[in-house]
Structure formats: structure tokens, C-alpha cells
Symmetry: C2
Subunit: 432 residues, 2 copies
């Protein structure tokens, strides 16, 4: 098994006992086996010795909610009212998406994500075989799920559910375990209750978790209460969703009681600050969620509502907006935001062996170029990561023990070809 | 006079009549003389022909409020309550700053700013001769002012005012007009009324504008009302401040009546969204300010409260937070945020010949590398600049007709030396 040592590095570990280490890290195969001040063995015993001077190594970022192929709709109708944006811009275009479009939309998103330090992402979309194949080819890690909208005739519902089940079965554990799956009824407002119950049953049968949108907008919460006599949390609880490990996306509009229910069932919340602001959905109650002990992670959502896939920005937004809105400058400190983007992100999608740099963890990590003005002075590197860094500072990326980005170049994908094919897809979509 | 033409470029002009032009731009000396689809003259008649393929050219960004040397305090005590941060972290360190510290703190800030596309900045600080010299050396443009705190004995007040006047006189119009000056009583809560009146008189005598902090925190507004029987806007109005062209920084806590007063006197507001969020000061009423016809520009504030000097981020925050907080997805559209970062920024510091790409304007512009995933598809470039771009996308920077950054390298300053000296300053400050 190949043994690699990084020497002279600065490591922001995510381990509260030793958050910053200057020294060495060893990986054997796809696992980290050592991190500490001195090399555990003479350097000549390693297959590879990497000098980490002027680089900061940290866990890869975990993007826990998104729709990667929506890169095809980046900048395609911004600053519009939500219904106009959805009905006149997003849905007509998405209705035309072919497998080829999803393939290249996803590949472009993956390029942007890995070059920007995201090593794991959640994707909920259609044509998921294409997404999984792209993940497999790229070397990234992903928790994937066919997101199903159930506002359709029974036979179409049935076909979609079968497709979601087949995808979840086929790909769970694929690509050396880099790909895992979930079941995903799209949202309480897009799936009838009995259809959601069938997803819960399928998740039980396959022993898989559930991912769904929940309480993103006030309007949707009020409509849920009117239609079903219960706000979304109670509604999903009644339907048995939380009997499965569950990750909800957004969770913007929550009462104290709802937060308590989510905490009781250990439901994770993917906070999407950029998307929630851009679509004017509101500001999630993140300080309260964290105080309740809920796993709060971060997601970019699709590129049409963000509009980039820079997880450093989501960490920064998470650290900034809750201070500004609550009036408390100690709300969501830098360390909490970093944890939301890494270890809590990993735990919220049930990947317990990524998200920190510690012996025994999978080798999913990134290196930033800190020989730049915005990383000086050498004060608090956790603060610098959250308040000053960006996706563009990432130079090297390792996932599952393999380098997939080196010196800012993606080693696994043909960037030029992907950009070209992506532009062809977009041209066809807009001209058809 | 040297004639340069850029061909095959994509130009986001800031001119509402022709916001995006694919074609050519000509500069002669320090002025833009043409922008349009076709080259006005045969290419062999130009001294320099630059191919702009895969680059987006736009006006340089204008940062209208900051304290550049505070880069020395980046990450030095984050996530603290405001008074603890000021009294235990900022003030004791700033009290030790020498001219040398301000020189290298400012030079590091200038490096970060120009490499990130900011071509003009406002600085309000101490040891301003050092700041002006750094601006002169760097090739940047700046509106500079000695920020004076007046909570001191009369003889110290007198000395500070004289110093502020001497600086404003000595440097106004220097460096081929790249440097202009202002008078700056620090804030209503740090300057006694009669001392502010002396600054107003000096500004009249020198025919210079006034810059001051105003209504950044609720506490300061309430204290002003209690101490002087008037909120800050009325207080400054009574002291005659607005009889001079005025730019106020922050303006977070404003009533409708105060907004009307600012509009009446054509007072500009430098909106600092990153700093206001991080210090938990609140969210300024930017949609209302814009509706009132006020020039709203953008500032990073000092790096200790931001923590980077990326003006793309300030544009993005300005476009995002007001949507999220007001619930209106059409609040502060991308074009407005871009204007705040460029043309409104220029107008708010009375530099009417920068901020757009149009014939007759000074040649202050930047080029972004748009051959990257996050600039695809080629939909709306104004949207891409505001919602997706960052400082790191900037490759070339031209100020006053001279290239000061080319291929991401600063041509005017010795980056390695500045980083080294900056680190020495920081080490001395923390060990003394």
C-alpha cells in the first residue's frame, strides 16, 4: 500500500483537541494514519514525500444540498420574483433537459466544486445515472438521490418511485464506496402524503436515509398548514419520515417546537444561506438549531440560485449573516462555520470517516495557497479560512487517497472538453 | 501619446445605453477614447494591440470606506463582543502602530486590493503621509483623509487638526491627480461638536469634501440622541457638515426622515455590508436609500472587521442580504450592486471621470479570466460578476492608463518584500 507523507505543512484538523498542527501528515492507501509535529518514520521509508511549505491543509468541504446540473441555468433569469423565475425560467428549461445535459451540467459543477475544495456533495436531481457516472469518473465523493416530484398520475408516480429505488440500489457503495445513496421525495408540497409514505417504506426496505426539501419559504409552510392541518415538521413526522435518518434542506421557517422535534429525531438541516438570501426565502434560525444540538451543515443549492458553488462563501455567509441579523457578534463563530462545512457536513450525511484530519479517517483533504496577502498576518487560521479564503485559494485536492486536483489542475476530467460540451448543451437548450 | 487597442474583448461598460459590448476599446495616454464593435482604425496604427479573448473587461472597483493598515489586525480577535474587541484587541494594538507599520499594513492592503480588481480606495487613518506615498508608488487611485478622534485635550486636538489640514493640502491632486483628499472628523461620538465645526470650516477653506462614520450601531445613535438631543443626521446637519459635499460611512440605523435629509443634501452613503454583519451592527436600509436617490457605494472597512478586501464580495453581499432580509427577490438587483461598486462609488467620492468604460473617461479598468466553469453558461455577465465572480478572477489591472497588474502579478510593488516587512511589523507589535 502506497505510503505518502506531507512534511512542513500547516494542518487545520477539525479535531478540537488539536485544531492546528504544524508538521506532518501520513496517508496509507485511502486512509490517514498519522498527523503530528514530527515524521513518525525516516523519510526514506515513504513512497512519496510532499513538501507542504506555504500550504494550509484542511478537510475537504462537504456540500450537503444541491442540484449540480443546474449550472446550465446559472444567470438565466436572476432578480425575479420567485414564481416568475420558477415558472417562466427554470421549469421550462429543466423540462427540456436530456441525460446529456445532466451529464455535462453535472461535470461542469464537479469541476467547479473540486477545484474549489469541495470533496463531497449531495445531489438530488433527475437522470441520476449520469450524475453517478460523473462522480465515479471525477474521483469525488457523493451522496446521491433521485429527487421525485409526485404531482403526476399514479402510473408516472409508480415509474418514478421504481426509478428512484433502482438508482439507490444500483449505486449505493459504488466507486470504492465513494458513492452512497438516499431516497428523496422532493418536498411536502410537491408529493402527496401517501406517496411520501411509499418513500419511507422504500427507505426502510433498502436501509437508506431520506433527503427532502422542507420549510424553505413561509408561503409553503402556510400552505402546508392549510392543506394538511399541520406545519411541515409535524406533517413529515406523522408520515413516518423521521423514523429514517433524515436530512432536510433549508429549514428556514421553524418554530421552537419544530426545532425540538428535529432535535429529538436527530434530523440534520442543510443550511443554504446563499440560496435563501438570493431567493428572498429568509434567514434560517441557525444559532437556535446549533443550540438544540442539531447537525447543521451547508449547501450551495443549485447554481441558478446562488450563483456559484464556492463552499467557502457559504461558510462565510453562515458566520456573517446570523451575527448581523441577531445583533450578536458571537453568533456562529468561525470554528462553528468551519465545522458546518466539514465535520458536521460529513456527519449529517452519515459519512463518519471523513470531515476531519485524524488518524483512521479517509484521506479527503485539500491544500490552500496561503502565501497570499489575504492570509496575513499569521494570526488565526480558522478565522482566515472562514472570513478571508475562497474557492480560488485551493491548489491541491485529495479524495479517498487519490489526488484529483494538483496545482489547480483537475487530473481526472478533461476540463476543456467539458466546457465545450456544456456550451453546446446550453446552446441547444436555448435554441430548441 | 501612446495608443493602445484591446481587440476581441468582452466589455461590461457600466453605460446603461450599451451595458455589454463585444469588440474593441482604445486608450490614448490615460484616457479611454473609443469602445465599440469594430476597431476605429487599422491595427497597425496602434502602438500596442492586446488580444482580449476569454477576458471580461469592466471598470475598476471603487472601495469607498476603509482603514488599509488594519490588515495588521486581520484575524486578531474575531467573534468577540464589540466592546471587548475594540478595547482589548484593536485599540491597544493600534496605539502601538508606527509610521512603518502603517506603511507596510497599507502596502499589503494595496496589494490585496489591486490584485483583486479595486483600482480606487478611500482611506481614513493615521500616518497618512505613509499611506499617500504607498498609493503613489503602487499606481492606484485614492481619496485619502486623516481620520481624527477628538476626545483629547485642546492642544492635542489643535495639533491633529493642523496635521489633517497639512495632509489634505499637501497631497490633494498629487501623483498625476490619482490622489485627492478630504477632511474627516472620525465620528459624531468621537468628536465634540465644536471640533466638528472646525473641520467643516477647514473643509470650506480648502474646498474639500468631508468623510465621517455615522450611525453604524444602534447604541451610538441612542447615545447621540441622549447626549445632544438629536440623532446623528440632525446633529451633523446642525453642525453644518452637510454644507460640504459629504460621504458618510455605514449609515445602518436611519429613519425615513433621516434618509430624506441625506437625499436633500446629496450626502453619499458608503455601505459596508461585510463589516456591518461581522460586527453585528445590523443591515442598512439600502433599498430605501437607493429609492431616495442617494448615492450608495460600497466599502470593505478595515480588514479586522471583514476580513478580506474583496470588493466582489461586497457587491454580492449587497445584492444578497437585502433580498433575504426584506423578502423581496428583486431588491438590489445585480446591475444596482455593480453600479454601487463602480460608477456610484466613483460619484460618491466626486471622481466623475472614472467608474464606467466610456470615451472621455480615465483608463481605470480590470480584466477577469472568464474561461472558468463559474462563468458558464454565457448568459448574463452582469449577473456573473455580482453573483459568481471573486477578486481571484482578476488578471490585469490598468489605472490612469498604466498597467499595474498583468497576468495576476503586481508590476509596481515588490510583493515578496512587502509580505516580509509586514510580518516583521506584526511580530514586533505582538512582542512589544
Amino acid at each position: 500500500m502506497k505510503k505518502t507523507i506531507i512534511i512542513n505543512g500547516l494542518f487545520v484538523t477539525g479535531d478540537a483537541a488539536a485544531p492546528v498542527i504544524e508538521g506532518c501528515m501520513v496517508m496509507e492507501g485511502n486512509q490517514l494514519t498519522y498527523i503530528g509535529k514530527d515524521a513518525p518514520q525516516p523519510l526514506e521509508t515513504y513512497d512519496e514525500v510532499i513538501r507542504g511549505d506555504r500550504k494550509l491543509y484542511m478537510p475537504g468541504l462537504v456540500n450537503t444540498h444541491g442540484h449540480a446540473a443546474m449550472t446550465l441555468l446559472r444567470g438565466y433569469g436572476d432578480d425575479l420574483a420567485l414564481q416568475v423565475w420558477l415558472e417562466e425560467k427554470m421549469w421550462p428549461m429543466e423540462g427540456k433537459f436530456t441525460a446529456q445535459d445532466v451529464r455535462y451540467g453535472t461535470l461542469l459543477a464537479i469541476l467547479e466544486m473540486i477545484k474549489g475544495g469541495t470533496t463531497t456533495f449531495v445531489d438530488m436531481y433527475d437522470h441520476m445515472n449520469e450524475v453517478a457516472q460523473a462522480v465515479s469518473d471525477s474521483g469525488m465523493r457523493a451522496r446521491l438521490t433521485r429527487g421525485v416530484i409526485g404531482l403526476c398520475p399514479a402510473d408516472v408516480q409508480e415509474a418514478k418511485l421504481r426509478e428512484a429505488i433502482a438508482f439507490a440500489k444500483d449505486w449505493n457503495g459504488a466507486a470504492n464506496g465513494r458513492i452512497t445513496t438516499m431516497m428523496a421525495p422532493h418536498a411536502p408540497y410537491t408529493c402527496p402524503p401517501d406517496y411520501i409514505e411509499r418513500f419511507v417504506q422504500a427507505a426502510h426496505d433498502l436501509d437508506l436515509p431520506i433527503h427532502t426539501h422542507m420549510s424553505e419559504t413561509l408561503k409553503e409552510v402556510e400552505a402546508n398548514a392549510e392543506q394538511y392541518g399541520a406545519r411541515p415538521v409535524e406533517h413529515l413526522e406523522k408520515l413516518g419520515v423521521f423514523t429514517r435518518p433524515t436530512l432536510v434542506a433549508h429549514g428556514v421557517h421553524l418554530t421552537d417546537e419544530e426545532i425540538a422535534v428535529l432535535a429529538k429525531y436527530n434530523v440534520g438541516v442543510s443550511h443554504n444561506p446563499g440560496s435563501n438570501l438570493k431567493l428572498a426565502s429568509g434567514v434560517a434560525r441557525v444559532p437556535e438549531l446549533l443550540k438544540a444540538g442539531i447537525n447543521v451543515s451547508l449547501g450551495t443549492d443549485g447554481a441558478a440560485s446562488n450563483n456559484n458553488l464556492d463552499m467557502f462563501e457559504e461558510m462565510r455567509l453562515a458566520a456573517l449573516i446570523h451575527k448581523g441579523v441577531t445583533g450578536d457578534p458571537t453568533a456562529v463563530p468561525a470554528a462553528a462555520a468551519l465545522s458546518m462545512g466539514t465535520s458536521m457536513g460529513a456527519r449529517s450525511i452519515w459519512l463518519d470517516d471523513i470531515g476531519t484530519l485524524q488518524p483512521g479517517m479517509k484521506a479527503d483533504f485539500i491544500a490552500l495557497d496561503i502565501d497570499q496577502p489575504h492570509f496575513l498576518p499569521r494570526t488565526d487560521y480558522v478565522s482566515h479560512i472562514v472570513y478571508s479564503a475562497s474557492a480560488h485559494d485551493v491548489v491541491d485536492v485529495c479524495v479517498d487517497g487519490s489526488w484529483i486536483v494538483s496545482g489547480r489542475e483537475c487530473l481526472t476530467l478533461d476540463e476543456e472538453k467539458i466546457k465545450r460540451e456544456f456550451e453546446s448543451c446550453f446552446a441547444r437548450l436555448t435554441n430548441s
